[in-house]
Amino acid sequence: MTTSVSRDTTVLLKRSLRHILRSPDTIITTAITPIAMLLLFVYVFGGAIQVGGGRYVNYLLPGVLLITVASGIAYTAFRLFTDVSGGIFERFQSMPIARSALLWGHVLTSVVANLISLVLVVLVALAMGFRSGAGVLAWLAVLGILLLFTLALTWLAVIPGLTAKSVDGVSGFSYPLIFLPFISSAFVPTAGMPGPVRWFAQHQPVTPIVNTLRNLYAEQPVGNDGWIAIVWCVGLLVVAYALAMRTYRRKMA
């Protein structure tokens, strides 16, 4: 049974990776908004933002990476929606295929596609002067947190992918996620924000995740933020997975 889950998942993963290869624009459009934000904030607003020492591009990059993932998962929802509305999802469901493989194929595709977009964004940041002396372990930790974040948002994206009635409904859910980093420490330090806004910024998941990533590649101690970031990511992942599976089972009622 386990072998057929992994075998079926591999076949379905290859299928949707082939979709991405044939429409690389989905990766480009995923990366283009964050790259435009990098350019805009570093070269236009950056001069007026005080982040206390260091290059602004170094300060900015973690938030932009999270925005990259948030816009990337819109395509995950879109690909799943296309399968469901086009009927091929039902065809797969009526075949002797491992049930979970149907969703895992899409989820793993989302991870691969988002990693490629993240690499593109990091490359642009490097060209703009982003530098880090962090070692392999710190970078692995950065990768690990981004991976957890991507998985959590991907399972969240599965829900509209399964339930949306129209293409607009599919992509709409990602807008708040893209907007969330703006009310966090991603672009400017939270210290300068008025009371209630600062409270929200300091207690929403983006701030600890951004701070952790930033400290990891700046070779600074991560402190409590690291644990808080991991708890947020794992918590989101568990909730999103449970909700997605419930939605999936309900579709079969």
């Binding site: 299928r15 039902e90 065809r91």
Partner: protein, 260 residues
């Protein structure tokens, strides 16, 4: 000798919210026959097919395919069936050949390419095999769709309105394929809203109306439900379909002499 029915439905009920779609459906389909489920839109045909193909759970009653209960043994049911849904369920971004290979892989068969190539020939899709399905016509999609359903030779085939939206030629091709399949021993349950389709293809016909089977039998048996035919002499006019097929030159119709 008694044989297990390919499909056996007893007292099947299903509601969506407070709207009852199936109100106690009974059906039995012997293996190797073509069975047409006839009904207007919204009669519950698709719901029956979805329950039989394990996509939907019934509220009450039992349904078994190839001897396996759909609720208790869904895995075995899925091994026994293939579903061709109301709309061609093909992958638009992949090519025709890739679609067939994909299904062969998911059915854990060997020799994917050989299976794909055989079906491409059989369904007259070899020339388009390397093109993306997005460029296919409606008829080509449906042919590919049915070809995908035949991979792995499942003993029971569900065709949900297989010719809806097809042009007359593609329709005849689908009919020919269905007859061939039944000739080889496959059981076909087909839903349709076209009376002539049921008349042309089916060994047995059931009429589903407002969630119940209101008539069930061979065409001859159904005809006996009506008063005996009255003999009338009517001049035989060609139907528009006859004219269309004659002009585009299909089958054994000779071209009409418009350009003579």
């Amino acid at each position: 000798m008694t044989t297990t029915p390919a499909i056996e439905i007893v007292g099947l009920t299903k509601s969506y919210g407070d709207q009852a779609v199936l109100r106690g459906v009974d059906l039995s389909v012997p293996p190797g026959t073509i069975f047409a489920l006839l009904g207007s839109n919204g009669a519950g045909k698709t719901t029956v097919v979805k329950i039989l193909s394990t996509l939907l759970k019934p509220d009450g009653g039992t349904a078994a395919v190839n001897g396996y209960d759909v609720g208790a043994r869904p895995e075995e049911v899925r091994e026994s069936i293939s579903l061709t849904g109301q709309f061609a369920a093909v992958d638009e971004i992949l090519t025709g050949r890739e679609n067939l290979i994909l299904i062969a892989q998911l059915r854990h068969l060997k020799n994917h390419r050989g299976i794909a190539d055989d079906l491409l020939v059989k369904f007259d899709l070899t020339a388009a095999a390397g093109k993306r399905v997005a460029t296919y016509s409606g008829g080509m999609r449906r042919r590919l769709d049915i070809a995908m359903s035949l991979i792995g030779d499942p003993p029971v085939l569900f065709l949900d309105e297989p010719t809806t939206g097809l042009d007359p030629q593609s329709r005849l091709e689908v009919w020919r394929t269905v007859k061939e399949l039944a000739g080889q021993g496959t059981t076909v349950l087909l839903t349709t809203q076209y009376l002539d389709e049921a008349e042309h293809l089916a060994d047995r016909i059931a009429i589903l109306h407002e969630g119940r089977i209101i008539a069930n039998g061979t065409l001859a048996e159904l005809k006996r439900l009506l008063p005996p035919a009255k003999v009338e002499y009517v001049e035989k006019q060609p139907s528009l379909e006859d004219i269309f097929l004659a002009i585009v030159g299909h089958g054994d119709h000779r071209p009409v002499g418009a350009q003579r």
